[in-house]
Amino acid sequence: MLDAVFFYTFALMTLTGAVLTITRKSAVHSAIWLIVSLLGVAGLYLLQQAEFLFAVQIVLYIGGIMVLFLFVIMLVNLDEAAKQRQFNNQRWIALGCAVIVGAEILYVLAKGTASLSLPAPAAAPAAGGNTEQIAVSLFRDYLLPFEAASLLLLAAIVGSVIMAKRRA
């Protein structure tokens, strides 16, 4: 019962945050509502025993990415940006399409979940907490993606420096 309460709370946070993110006029407000939404998602992670991701969501997403967003929003001229028209000409068509896409996904899901037979887990999960399991898995099975991700980050760092630095 308690988890249901938590679920509805976090779900409400997530959806409200998301709706307000895409409707608030000011970019700063949008960013703040996005943080609320991300917090809601983090809560949902926790509900599903993903403690590690919960932590990463808070530290990396909210603490890192969103701060970066806010930083950039501050950097560009905020006053001018707020005065601009916020929604483009195709907004009604766009909304309609987004609704239809959502409806279709929901429909397919609803139709599918009746017969949604997830495969049985291949092996019993190893003992230990979620973070420990992830650590084991990440550094054994997923060692290569982990290393490859470092190349990704390197490329991203170099790229953003090139874009941001002043021309020599």
Partner: protein, 108 residues
């Protein structure tokens, strides 16, 4: 750590439905916001929807592979944010605008 019982009162598919709605909201934001930064934020919403699905499936499958995939998605999101915001900044420097539909010098 003792294993928590499955939350029986909330069916798993609700998480998936929530994720779908979140994804659609992200699409909507991408389609109709004019501020490039907000458009970009909409993508973050979509990625979160994806992560939520991963975690849910992972929970159901009693695996951590989905968690790891989500983790990589976040890493990539961070990298994209850095690069993307840098690109947005150069665009702003050159054009003094953040309205996405004014960036249309090349068309047809």
């Amino acid at each position: 750590m003792p294993e928590l019982p499955l939350p029986t009162s909330v069916p798993l598919s609700w998480y998936l439905l929530l994720s779908a709605i979140l994804f659609a909201l992200g699409i909507a934001g991408f389609l109709y916001r004019r501020n490039i930064i907000t458009v970009f934020m909409s993508i973050e919403l979509m990625l979160n929807a994806v992560n939520l699905s991963f975690v849910t499936f992972s929970y159901k499958l009693k695996q951590v592979d989905g968690h790891i995939f989500s983790f990589f998605v976040m890493v990539v999101a961070a990298a994209e944010a850095a690069v993307g915001l840098a690109i947005i900044l150069t665009v702003f420097k050159n054009r003094r605008t953040l309205e996405v539909d004014e960036i249309d010098s090349m068309k047809y």
